[in-house]
Amino acid sequence: MSPPLIEVEHLTMRFGGLVAIDDVSFAARAHAITAVIGPNGAGKTTVFNCITGFYKPTIGRLTLRSPGGEFLLERMRGHEIGQKARVARTFQNIRLFSGMTVLENLMVAQHNKLMRASGWSLLGLVGAGRFRRAEGAAIELARLWLERIGLLADADRPAGELPYGAQRRLEIARAMCTEPVLLCLDEPAAGLNPRESAELNQLLVSIRDRDGIGVLLIEHDMSVVMNISDHIVVLDYGRKIAEGAPLAVRNDPAVIRAYLGTDEEALDA
């Protein structure tokens, strides 16, 4: 088995007196989809916010080991986690640049690479060939992702005009255009109909298998979680209550209790 891509050790996050996450440890691998599930308020999004630098954890260590090196995420500034450690994320409530076009959204995602190629705008201002080639390559990468999410024809439309499901896919494509080693998805299936949900499953599986990166997933939709996850971490009231393969987690009595009290059927729904 490959070594873990990211290791979360003893992560604790307190807001004043409230303990949102209490000593949670788990690991996620490359070439795998790891799901974090749990009832509302279990602390899933807080874990994400710690990993992606939006919160500084109170206690704990977040180690990312990628071909690019080893990074201690809890010590890095917010934007450096995307820029240097190459962790990308999407948001529970979609955060596209809605006034900009679909293509522009994907170009902004490649900002750091293009900034270097444009010589911090100086080479770009004079229209140097090096910048034009880098820009061409960036457009190609964007085109590739637009094809994969089926939005090629909509490339020049404002992102805010797209239907909801397309916006969800575009946000994932935008995160992928940063060429991440770890992709964190916060409820990507929220608000999708069953057909769109199935398309999302295919997209996530293709990201795992073709792009070979690690995917960390928060999700309520059990049809997504159970079908595509390789590994599941269950949180409840900020604590980890179970961890394992989908089948094992599904039958874990602690999980069933946390989710439903006693009834098992809704888990299958």
């Binding site: 934007h79 948001f91 596209l96 006034g99 170009m107 902004v108 444009s118 705008s121």
Partner: protein, 473 residues
Amino acid sequence: MGPRLPLMLKDAGLTAFVAAALGFFVVGFRTVDQGGGKGLGFDYQLVDLAVAVVAIFVGRLGLSMAANGLRWPAIALGIAMIAAGASPMKLPSGFLHWFVALGGVLLVIRAVWPWANDAMGAAARTPSGVALGKAGAKWFGWLLLAGAVLLPAMPFADQKTMDLGVLILTYVMLGWGLNIVVGLAGLLDLGYVAFYAVGAYAYALLSTQYGLGFWTVLPLAGMMAALFGIMLGFPVLRLRGDYLAIVTLGFGEIIRLVLLNWFDLTNGPAGIGSIPGPTLFGAVFAETPPPGKQTVSEMLGIAFDGNHRLIFLYYIILGLALITNLFTQRMRRLPVGRAWEALREDETACQALGINPTNTKLTAFAIGAMFAGFAGSFFAAKQRFISPESFVFIESAIILAIVVLGGMGSQIGVVLAAVLLIGLPEWFRDLGNYRMLAFGLAMVLIMVFRPRGLISHREPSIRLHPAGSGGGG
């Protein structure tokens, strides 16, 4: 029209009654000193009041007709009002002429609006309309540019027109500079005039104290203003929205107060005078050359004309403004420009994509400040005298209004708004004190009819499919 007419008349009558009741105490009479220790007496202006009440009655009647689809009677009433206002008929005051005539104009606009709107909408949807609209948008900017370049050669270009042209272009340049900060990067800056002041004082001091010329100081002034932008930006750019606005407002005031009180350096409220104007290849614009210098008329072998200096200034500011515009257009297509717009749309998402928000905002702030610095040193060279009075908050507010009314981020919109906000008040100086009323009214009307600014269309900075191929929308 039959059954509804009595209702409309009643409504108009009621409005006129309210106007008469309120207006009696405001317009109907005024107290005058009778002199000779007799105390105050009343001077009745009942004719003024009567004219205003009749105009309000007719106007209200016309508005309800327009609202009920009686377009032609409403237009007739409006034209009658315009005719009455413009007629040589003797009204007690000049303002009443304007009041009646402008009321008529508004009434006609209101009556024609829905119909014109439908007609324009329908015309714009036909294929030739679409093509025309695209060509118009493409050529409109070039037409404006050609007009601006040729303006000094026009027969009507007297000194007043040229002065106004220079003034409008200064505001166009400031608007384009602030557009980078507010329109593209979405940072609400209420202290923009501070950087304008830095540029102006940089030129004034360097030229009067050290004898440096305009073209030497121009880049220095820009750099100085950019430095001030960075100095202000570092501590405050972590703030968002309203908080940033308040801090920039404070910064603008600080700069003004420093200029006012640092007497040794800035000469305080008395300002700095006899600032040299810009030179043309070392030659000055003057009738008699100062020692060791050559005048432009000597150099070119033409007769001296006081207007030459103005025309030269006009072309300098036109050039500076165009440089600002070209630079901005270029930056918009570079990664940093796209990051500015992305920051405006969603800062959190930018951070998640690994974009350094502080650096990106700082570049926008510094570049915007730099152009204000250029414009400032031009201003000092044009006026030849500057004092802190020229850099008060209302200037920041006007520049911001130009950007917002023009349509955030739209370059052509800034031009239109600058012509409207700077040009119209100058042309309507005849209105006297009512000028600012008309100014406010124009702003309200623009925001009511075009809430997203005059030009709300945003051209993508990059396209995958060529424009108009059907792939886009």
